[in-house]
Symmetry: C2
Subunit: 197 residues, 2 copies
DNA sequence: TGGCGGATGTCACAGACTGACATGACTCAC
DNA sequence: GTGAGTCATGTCAGTCTGTGACATCCGCCA
């Protein structure tokens, strides 16, 4: 399967570049075309022009392909919590983290098809859930660095990610009427009302 | 593998009764003895005196054994929400659901070892998370039956399950100083404070 | 020139799950 | 009591995921 190609500089190279990218693209396409569970790693690898083994070198499993950006999001939110003004109360700091995600959620169409894939398969939902849970963990950690103690930190983080989730889903459903960030802000306000009631 | 046994009434029966129970027990024991990922279904089946195929007739997969009671919990909580006084606000109804779980969380030692198994394996954590998510779904549904609209229902349910989780973890960690129900009540109060702040 | 490291391939395999069909004890209608 | 049907289980063959060990070959550097 050693495909010889011409590189930019004209020298021979043993394999096409960016296997990871091709694998990711091939996987997403196939999940969309035939469904996640109907897609085998062999098919993904074939479309990407590599072997199955190579797939598993880049992705821990078949599901992980769809959650590639999750560590970036995690850093983004944790940083936002840490860099929130010293005067900010826990839920305010979490609000800043919710806001920070806005930078990532821009391509609505991509987000929608990705979510459609996830919603179609329970095992992908499980994976999504654990990613969200890691987010909670990261925020708890960041809050603790601000001096917030338990159980307040956990409560605020849980609550924040709950809002994050509802906001994201609402954004996907609404289309372009409101941005993700607007929705998240509105929901946080709503929550304060519900909880205060 | 057809084990002939004497039944209570003395008649011959083809197999020992309660395969499901034996499988469940064998699995839990083995997960504890050698770790979840080091345990094969073949080993579980062997200890239970049945074939692998029989394991998969009772449990959808290796993980599901540990989440057998989850549908009962779901009904319990949904019923509590539905049967809460008509005057109860969303979070009060959710509080009733939290309280209702107290009936299930009695055997501390069992809950602790089960949780230790789950905490030791990411794939089990994923499963636990999706069960919790189903709980959220059930509560949302129950709240909507009470006339609570979105996004309030989702927010209240998410928040409630967040508390549920923290309360359960706290109960396992504290030992016997407070009952699960007490802890849950305290946390709900705490949350109202955090959110109102 | 020759050795080294990195990305990939090749191979062999264990283990999770599934579908199709077989078996034999029980049960119920007649 | 007999024959059909049902139920729990067994048997078997197979697909797919994921992993470990080792081979290959290119580009780089001394």
């Amino acid at each position: 399967m050693s495909v010889a190609v011409i590189k930019y500089d004209g020298r021979m190279t043993r394999w096409q570049p960016d296997s990871r990218g091709r694998l990711s693209k091939a996987a997403t396409e196939l999940y969309l075309e035939r469904g996640f569970s109907q897609t085998t790693v062999a098919q993904i690898a074939e479309r990407a022009g590599v072997t199955e083994r190579t797939f598993f070198r880049y992705f821990a499993d078949k599901r992980e392909v769809l959650f590639d950006g999750s560590s970036r999001l995690q850093e983004l939110m944790a940083d936002a919590v840490i860099n929130a003004p010293a005067t900010a109360r826990p839920l305010d700091a979490v609000g800043a983290a919710l806001d920070a995600c806005g930078a990532v959620f821009v391509d609505l169409e991509y987000s929608q098809s990705r979510q459609a894939i996830i919603d179609s398969d329970p095992s992908l939902q499980e994976r999504e859930l654990i990613k969200r849970d890691r987010l909670v963990g990261a925020i708890v950690h960041a809050l603790q660095a601000r001096g917030v103690t338990e159980p307040t930190a956990s409560l605020a983080a849980q609550t924040g990610i709950g809002i994050f989730h509802v906001a994201f889903a609402t954004w996907l459903a609404e289309g372009t009427t409101r941005s993700y960030s607007e929705i998240a802000r509105d929901l946080l306000t709503e929550l304060r009302t519900v909880a205060a009631a």
